[in-house]
Symmetry: C2
Subunit: 148 residues, 2 copies
DNA sequence: ACAAGTATGCACCTTTTGGTAAGTACCCAA
DNA sequence: TTGGGTACTTACCAAAAGGTGCATACTTGT
């Protein structure tokens, strides 16, 4: 027991309290962040939300062309999940060459707003991140994402 | 050709301009959101960032116990990536029973702050999300995440 | 002496995710 | 008639992501 754990080198213990503690629980998740992550997990979901938030009701084909490099299968699939999670609303106009569009529900809109800081952060630190990524690997860890 | 595209059913065209448009480009990514997502992608990364942001320098074992259900392999791996991306700093005290701790770099701290709205959103809408998830599937799509 | 804790590394394997390509049913323009 | 566009669906696959379990080297507690 000789040693106290007081360290010779350790930093001045920042103790940042600016980031609030998550509120624990509810049936499924353990904290807010956890809940959010489950809903936005999916390669294109944040982008989709962002797109629709910007453009308002968006037709499938339009979305398809905007979210570059996404395949039909996956786009549809993610849209379905977003719909099932109550974030987007699908409107089928029952027209003869099919016409469908997607818009955000109030819930989806609020999530899109919560994504803004992430977008801002990325924009502000893109140079740094870019540099780090560049020296690390052979780029494009896998055909890289869209254009928003 | 008969039809103008004015729709019979469409909603009042919300046109939400509150969500700003992403600033296009830089070598690798296409927008800020894209850049951010690449860095925080990983099942436990946001949680790790959040944890360390709250607790300050955190020892490996401590983190391991906090981020429940994560395996050593993956935790280490994600920590390495976060370190390589300049978000966390690893400090090895070179002591004899190994002692190491992880803390956030300024960059990491700023990201953690950008995550706050997501945490808040999740907390506020946990009930809704929870309900939807509940009726959808056999719960725990895969042993569910941690406690933060 | 032996179990446990410390911070990893490594081999192997399963799950998840995403992608490709083709098909559907219907319309319009060339 | 052929070709293109609309909004999907399905079957089949490849790759990424994550998990399990064992090993290391050394110390402390029992």
């Amino acid at each position: 027991m000789s040693s106290d754990r007081s360290d010779p080198i350790s930093p001045p213990a920042p103790v940042q309290a600016d980031v609030q503690r998550c509120t624990p629980n509810l049936p499924g998740f353990t904290c807010g962040l956890d809940a959010t992550l489950r809903v936005v997990a999916g390669k294109w979901k944040p982008l989709i939300l962002y797109f629709v938030a910007q453009d308002g009701p968006t037709r499938y084909g339009e979305l398809r062309r905007s979210v570059r490099d996404v395949s039909d299968k996956v786009l549809i699939q993610q849209l379905k999940e977003l719909e099932a999670d109550g974030l987007v609303k699908r409107t089928d106009y029952k027209e003869v060459p099919p016409r469908v569009d997607y818009s955000l529900t109030p819930l989806g809109r609020s999530l899109a707003e919560a994504l803004v800081p992430l977008c801002t952060w990325g924009t502000e630190h893109m140079a740094e991140v870019s540099r780090v990524f560049a020296e690390r690997e052979g780029w494009t860890r896998r055909g890289h994402p869209p254009t928003v």
